[in-house]
């Protein structure tokens, strides 16, 4: 055993320092709060101690990974440097690594694990709702499960596509060897992982009863488990903000010669649109959560009506972040869709400019609609027509994405590969998601649908049907490039069809159940909804089962069967497919020069031609 390796910067050191830090923070918190602050003594819970424990634990964990050494060296006057010590082999996946491709793989597995946790919670929710009144999980545990499901999914899936796929492919697509800030890139990943673990610890502190929205003043009343939620979402916000910053900086500064803005692959545009939202919306969330933390510890009165604050303030601030947030979830999916359609329709993207306009338009409009979440809250009734209009206006840029997708299929030569199936399913699901959204944007209709299972089913159609389907499309499409091994097509199709049918059979009826009067997050429901809920639960279990099919297929294909795919299994003309699979550490031997449109299908010498790129030119590599 090599002790130098054991004691160096690695995951083991990180865990040890993280746990030590946690208890140091806990102890510190009890030193200067507790008896001196009366109400902590009365309640037997000490929020200051828990916040400090999480904070010091986080610092310990990151230091153990090696994140502290560079800032300290800079403090001592060492010059700025590009990357951490380069390592090779499997070990680099378990430590601080600044290679954007390693970070992408880390994201894929890390986020995948937390999506599994979120999905498990969804199964538990559906299990509980098999009966209108009988309780498997008692009322507080049920609320914790609901909150954990929502928070985990909303927090983790924000980076669900940007984390794994944009980190991996965005530099390649613009002809760069790295992201603009490799160390920040690695930091975003590890922040997210620590955040996820922190959120899980809520179970040990009594859970939290607020759902993912964490409304005040319930968040002030809640048990210590609420602190886990606050720290989780603040860290996710920080991670998102830094991720967005890194993506924008990369696209602005790292583009290869010839990679003009009008030649960026559409996926890159969707990343830009998302990143702008991430960069700007997440800080609002962090501020808001810090206010909640102050309310809980220092007893400030931001959201406390009787101390002169206002719960509406929380709702406004939360949704100023929260509505861009849902487009942070939706936009990358649109990028994946429009990136995949040209490959399997063998046509250039139809209406490139329109698609870009659509994405940027969504990005802009998403700032102007937040009060539609407050339509029945009793605030600003006179502004309702405006928010009704602005919300419905978002369907215009969304419509652009649809028309571009349909136009790309026009006279194409469609191959029904697994990624293509997922992309087409995106169109179907997002159509239903978008149409159901119109009911919620319309005030009279919203009176019944607001806060019901209808709105829940609506955003599952857009987020799960949109984002998760495109997440899987991206996995089936790009993972062979990332690992060099194919994913089994037949099991992929089984996965697709079970998931697609079970998904629609779950959330379609939920739209109806919501319309018939079932509120969200309620552990009991009226007897007449029992049949529908049972159907939905059983469908949901099939949906969960389809995920197991995927996990099995993924592990089998990538660990056991291992069929090498070669450089370009899909015969794509995009640049990432002109590199070996997996992509070499430094991406390109020479930085390529780009000449034209990123989707050169059908250009040049006509039918049945090669799959070679004709627009990417790399200077010949000098031979030693």
């Amino acid at each position: 055993m090599n002790f130098r390796r054991l004691l160096g910067y690695n995951l083991l050191t990180a865990f040890v320092l993280g746990i030590v830090g946690f208890y140091v923070g806990w102890w510190l918190g009890h030193q200067f709060s507790g008896p001196s602050i009366a109400y902590f003594a009365d309640t037997g819970q000490n929020d200051i101690a828990l916040f400090l424990a999480y904070l010091v634990g986080l610092i310990g964990f990151l230091s153990g990974l090696g994140f502290a050494s560079y800032p300290i060296q800079r403090l001592l006057g060492k010059p700025p440097s590009l990357r951490e010590k380069e390592t090779a082999g499997t070990g680099r996946y378990f430590t601080l690594c600044t290679d954007h491709k390693v970070v992408g793989m880390q994201y894929l597995i890390g986020i995948g694990a937390f999506i599994f946790v979120g999905g498990l919670n969804a199964m538990l929710i559906r299990f509980e709702l098999l009966s209108p009144t009988k309780q498997t999980f008692n009322a507080n545990n049920y609320l914790t499960i609901v909150g954990l499901h929502g928070t985990m999914m909303m927090g983790m899936m924000t980076s669900g596509i940007l984390g794994p796929f944009a980190n991996y492919f965005l530099p390649i697509m613009i002809g760069a060897r790295r992201m603009a800030f490799p160390r920040i890139e690695a930091l975003t990943f590890w922040l997210l992982m620590v955040a996820g673990v922190i959120l899980m610890t809520t179970v040990g502190y009594g859970g939290f009863p607020t759902g993912w929205t964490g409304y005040a003043p319930l968040n002030d009343q809640a048990n210590m488990g609420m602190d886990s939620y606050i720290v989780f979402f603040a860290l996710v916000g920080l991670s998102m903000s830094l991720l967005g910053l890194n993506m924008i900086a990369t696209v602005v500064t790292m583009r290869a010669p010839g990679m003009a803005w009008g030649r960026l692959p559409i996926f890159v545009w969707s990343v830009i649109a998302t990143s702008v939202l991430m960069l700007l919306a997440a800080p609002v969330l962090i501020s808001t959560l810090l206010m909640v933390a102050l309310d809980r510890t220092a007893q400030t009165g931001f959201f406390n009506a009787q101390a002169g604050g206002s719960p509406y303030l929380y709702q406004n601030l939360f949704w100023i972040f929260g509505h861009p947030e849902v487009y942070i979830l939706a936009l990358p999916g649109m990028g994946i869709l429009l990136e995949i359609l040209p490959v399997f329709a063998r046509k250039p993207l139809w209406g490139y400019r329109l698609a870009v306009t659509g994405m940027l338009g969504i990005s802009l409009l998403s700032w102007l609609v937040w009060q539609h979440h407050l339509f029945v809250s009793g605030i600003n009734a006179d502004l309702r027509p405006f928010y009704m209009l602005s919300t419905e206006l978002i369907s215009l840029p969304t419509g652009f994405i649809f028309i571009c997708a349909l136009g790309t299929l026009w006279q194409g030569r469609i191959r029904f590969t697994v990624p293509m199936l997922f992309a087409l399913a995106w169109l179907f699901n997002f159509l239903i998601g978008g149409l159901s959204g119109v009911f919620l944007s319309d005030v009279p209709s919203d009176v019944t649908t607001h806060g019901s299972f209808f709105s829940m089913a609506h955003f599952h159609y857009t987020i799960m049907g949109g984002l998760l389907f495109s997440f899987f499309a991206a996995i089936y499409f790009w993972v062979p490039k990332m690992t060099g091994y194919a994913i089994n097509e037949r099991f992929g199709k089984i996965h697709f069809w079970t998931m697609f049918i079970a998904f629609n059979s779950t959330f379609g009826p939920l739209l109806v159940i919501g319309f018939l009067g079932m509120p969200r997050r309620a552990v009991t429901y009226a007897g007449y909804l029992h049949g529908g809920n049972t159907w939905v639960s059983i469908s949901a279990f099939f949906l969960g089962g389809s995920m197991l099919v995927f996990v099995g297929n993924f592990v089998w294909s990538q660990v056991f069967a291992r069929v090498p795919v070669g450089a370009n299994p899909w015969a794509s003309k995009s640049i990432e497919w002109q590199l070996p699979s997996p992509v070499p550490v430094h991406n390109f031997d020479r930085i390529p020069t780009f000449g034209a449109d990123p989707y050169p299908y059908g250009d040049g010498d006509g039918a049945g031609d090669s799959t070679a790129p004709r627009v990417v030119t790399a200077p010949a590599r000098p031979r030693p």
Partner: protein, 227 residues
């Protein structure tokens, strides 16, 4: 292997990246981070005006909730002075007056530190606490987080200054040992062309951010003390 790349590429290829790329990254990074910070404080601004306009229970700002205008003004002035001085320091660096920039840089550090200390003095001498209504809440949250950002700025200025001091006797273009910047002894190539090559762009970046933060400081001062 394809015509664009193969797995035998070694590190030397990457080391050839021109330093301008990183310089550009630093500058754009500062701008982006400034915009994120702006939205961070925008939430407090929103909270201030929302709660002030609401004033539903007439407890927005009781009489005794009155932070010291003198200390607050001094704190804001020190932040603005630091930002202005940093601008002059950048000019000095551009004109190759390196000692002048280092001197100014040290004063900037002192000014920023003074601003934070003044803020702490103010908290410890004020006559109200966090439970004294929404104004007190916004005031404490906002000034507290602004101080945290100022500490971050302090760190950034310090790193730039420290690098400049550490290599004050290094000639431009002097050879650099392999793996010098990252501390990676296993490397065969230098991973930085010149440790001093990035100081100016980093200085420009930090100066931009300091200017931005002093703008936030002015807004803070105006909203919390004057309005």
């Amino acid at each position: 292997m394809t015509e664009l790349a193969d797995h035998s590429t070694d590190y030397g290829v990457v080391a050839a990246e021109p330093p301008e790329v990183m310089a550009r990254n630093l500058r754009i990074g500062a701008h982006l981070w400034a915009s994120a910070s702006a939205f961070f404080f925008a939430a407090f601004l929103f909270a201030y005006f929302y709660l002030r306009a609401l004033d539903s229970t007439a407890v927005w700002r009781p009489k005794h909730v009155d932070p010291s205008l003198t200390l607050g003004t001094l704190a804001a002035v020190s932040l603005v002075a630091a930002a202005v001085l940093l601008r002059f320091a950048v000019a000095d660096h551009r004109a190759d007056r390196l000692n002048a920039w280092r001197f100014k840089g040290a004063i900037v550090l002192a000014l920023l530190l003074a601003g934070v200390v003044l803020q702490i003095v103010e908290w410890s001498t004020q006559s109200f606490g966090p439970t004294d209504g929404p104004y007190a809440s916004v005031y404490l949250g906002w000034t507290g987080l602004l101080s945290l950002f100022v500490v971050g700025l302090l760190y950034w200025v310090e790193t730039t200054l420290a690098t400049s001091f550490r290599y004050r006797n290094t000639r431009r273009g002097a050879p650099v040992p392999a793996g010098h910047a990252s501390g990676d002894g296993d490397r065969s190539d230098p991973d930085i062309e010149n440790p001093l090559s990035l100081i100016r762009s980093e200085l420009e970046a930090v100066s931009f951010y300091a200017t931005f933060l002093s703008g936030i400081g002015i807004v803070t001062w105006f909203v919390l003390y004057v309005l």
